[in-house]
Amino acid sequence: MREVIINPITRLEGHGKIVVVLDDAGNCIKAYLQVPELRGFEKFAVGRHAEDMPQITPRICGVCPMAHHMASTKTLDDLYKVDPPEPAKKIREMVYNIFMLEDHALHFYILAGPDFIVGPKAPKTERNVIGVIKKVGNEVALKIIGMRKKLRKLNETIAGKVIHPVFGLPGGISRPLSKEVVEEARKISDEAIEFAEFTYKIFKDIVLKNEEYVNLITSEAYTHRTYYMGLVDDKNRVNFYDGKIRVVSPRGLEYAKFDVHQYLDYIAEHVEPWTYIKFPYLKKVGWRGFIDGEDSGIMSVAPLARLNAAEGMATPRAQEAYEEMYSMLGGKPVHHTLANHWARVIEIIYAAERFRELAYDPDIESRDVRKIPTAIPDVGVGVVEAPRGTLIHHYETDERGVIKKANLLVATQHNAARIALSVDKAARSLIKGGVIDEGLLNMVEMAFRAYDPCHACGTHTLPGNLPIKIYIYNTEGQLIKTIERF
């Protein structure tokens, strides 16, 4: 038996490692994605003041801190049984859409961008942000960097900090928006719409008009037939900030639709001894191991899953793009992992449109943004859609609001099993008869990126690639070959 270790891959809640096991014939029989990362947030949350959780939990992930901040803040609303004033909810949702927009844009242009915009087969020295700039032009590049900077600055002003925000409190937000901020938000939201349209155009021009790319997206190697989960509004349309959790089956039928309070009835976590990450799955279907299909409880989250789990988008341009995608890819659900990029662009449009709607809503000028909670806290559960997917926080406290128990289901986890499937599938299809296709690295990398904007969002701002090194061992366990990819 031989093993191949890819160590470390890029961060997955930290660092990752892939081990590929070959049989004596040199065929891959199994590939493991190991996540060697554990910090114990759920445990050390115990003893903390509940109201500190919106500031503690963002430290789980500094790339999508706003997702944790918002999930946590909403959990506190629930914990203290306080319904924030409408203006507060609108400001929160606006901030949240700005965050989704900024985060998705970063991913699209900077992470996935090199693969698609420059081209998957372009020389590695060009497959980076500089290559992207060359391709789209300096002006466009500045537009992208400028947009991101503006959006992040706006969120810093409203939320206090953009990395690890502070403004969320049970019952609302820390303070109303000043006139200047409201005006600034409106101005930026106009630009955001334009930016979203422009992004969609680039995607269509560069990706969809390239048959090779489309084939890549639909290729079997990147396809898993799993359940899909996402938040939907009362009309089953995608919503990032609030709604019910909807799950559709691999065949596209509604499997479940539930309030987050019922999450324990639907979701359970499986533990494997070879990785620190836990694998959530659909409890009622059950854990059947790393397989796909209707009988496997493995589900997927993130942009594509959200679109699959919903029946449409709540804003007009996004809805058009939504329909366009499904018609091109042959209807719902789409099982191709790489279609996440497409879905992400659709969500960019939605986020921009929703941002603009809220920015122009007169409510956000209101001073009424806080309700002081009066109830005695007990249990609270909250959910948002993080860029990477459904994010659930669940706290139990004593009467003073001190955490007694915390449970966190983060987006990466929901996708963990499907990512493991992808890795395994890629390895099995690409390592045969002792021949290790060098394309393995590419495949793995692309499969990753599709899911994992958060893990790697900073990745391609500098020249360089996903750092992978493969160790190939013979049957005696001796190292026979090393393949590096850089």
């Binding site: 890029t10 961060r11 199994k30 493991y32 190991q34 060697p36 990362e37 554990l38 910090r39 114990g40 759920e42 445990k43 050390f44 003893g47 903390r48 003041h49 500190d52 500031q55 503690i56 963002p58 430290r59 992930c61 500094g62 790339v63 801190p65 506190l76 203290y80 960097i145 206090g160 900090k161 990395i163 690890h164 502070v166 820390s174 359970a268 976590e269 533990v271 494997e272 001894p273 070879w274 990785t275 620190y276 409890k283 854990w287 002081i372 909670p373 609001g401 001190v402 449970n407 289901l409 958060c454 969002c457 900073g458 701002t461 500098l462 360089g464 750092p467 992978i468 590096e484 850089f486």
Partner: protein, 324 residues
């Protein structure tokens, strides 16, 4: 001329520090022009072997973020220490442990038991736990989860510190300028941030009355504050007075009290101890009953006063940490 070599590494961090570097925005390109980044797992070629091949001391500066939580972190930071002239603890976690350092209030077993056993959504009837060595088809190894989280300077010698959770782009840029200037401050210095407490740059510092004596403590969710008035005087525990400045009072501008992510100032020996001492000294209480009552108003002093610094504090947490 060869550009100076620089490395960046993360331990038990959230990635916010990496994101903060990215937030240098256009300035990141200046950095690239000035230095040759030889190691940055999140961003550039990862070649730990290549790092090993470098002559000792050949990296001018390594910026390391995150606390040391896994055996793998320990291994890599020791390697970087050998290869680097200067090691910089970047951000709150590597400087003092940061928020993940609060895990030191619990021991390793308590954490594993909850995460893989008692958490409500876990379905693990067999009591499976991630193991350092596990034989499936082959032996799979996981780095070991250390008994506690260690600040970087407990594991290796650290030359400088850049504070913040995360350090702001301004602070990061200033610190890089100092590092690249060659005009280095004394070992142990904090780079890029202010030498004074946050109050100094706080827009509300001038709204304070002559004397601040507090009759009550309020937790942030219990009060709607006047955003134009010093939060401390509104009975919120603002750690601005005890926290190093440099962030520009971001939280306070959002009407939320400072929670201390820039850590303590040069002259302060223990951040949390100092925070408790300063805060207790302005409480206007005299009787034991008052003290009892006030302690009840603040059930989690650890999470409030030691939020970012527990592993580096004199208390060190429930789990003993051997200091250097």
């Amino acid at each position: 001329m060869e550009k100076p070599k620089m490395a960046l590494y993360w331990c038990a961090s959230c990635g916010g520090c990496e994101e903060a570097v990215v937030d240098l925005a256009e300035k990141i390109l200046d950095v690239i022009n000035l230095v040759d980044i030889v190691f940055w797992p999140v961003a550039v070629d990862f070649k730990i072997d290549d790092v090993e091949k470098l002559p000792d001391g050949s990296i001018v500066a390594s910026l390391i973020n995150g606390g040391v939580r896994l055996s793998e972190h320990e291994h890599v930071v020791k390697l970087l220490r050998r290869k680097s002239k200067i090691v910089v603890a970047y951000g709150a976690c590597s400087s003092w442990g940061g928020i993940p350092g609060l895990a030191n209030l619990y021991d390793k077993e308590e954490i594993l038991k909850y995460v893989y056993g008692d958490a409500p959504s876990v379905d693990n009837p067999g009591g499976v736990r991630p193991r350092e060595k596990h034989v499936e088809e082959v032996e799979l190894e996981l780095p070991s989860f250390l008994p506690r989280l260690l600040p970087l300077d407990v594991v290796i010698d650290v030359d400088y510190y850049i504070p913040g959770c995360p350090p702001t782009p301004e602070v990061t840029w200033k610190a890089l300028e100092i590092l690249l200037s060659g005009n280095l401050p004394p070992k142990g210095s904090v780079l890029g941030a202010s030498d004074r407490a946050l109050c100094y740059e706080c827009p509300l510092n001038n709204t304070k009355p002559d004397k601040i004596l507090l009759k009550d403590i309020k937790r942030p969710h219990q009060v709607i504050v006047d955003p134009e008035k010093c939060l401390l005087t509104q009975e919120l525990i603002c750690l601005g007075p005890v926290t190093r400045g440099g962030c520009g009072a971001l939280c306070i501008k959002a009407a939320m009290p400072c929670t201390g992510c820039f850590g303590s100032l040069d002259e302060v020996i223990d951040y949390g101890g100092k925070a408790v001492s300063y805060f207790a000294s302005i409480l206007d209480y005299y009787t034991e009953e008052d003290v009892e009552r006030i302690l009840d108003r603040l059930p989690d002093p650890m999470g409030v006063f030691y939020r970012y610094t527990l592993p580096a504090s004199r208390l060190r947490g429930k789990i003993k940490t051997t200091m250097r």
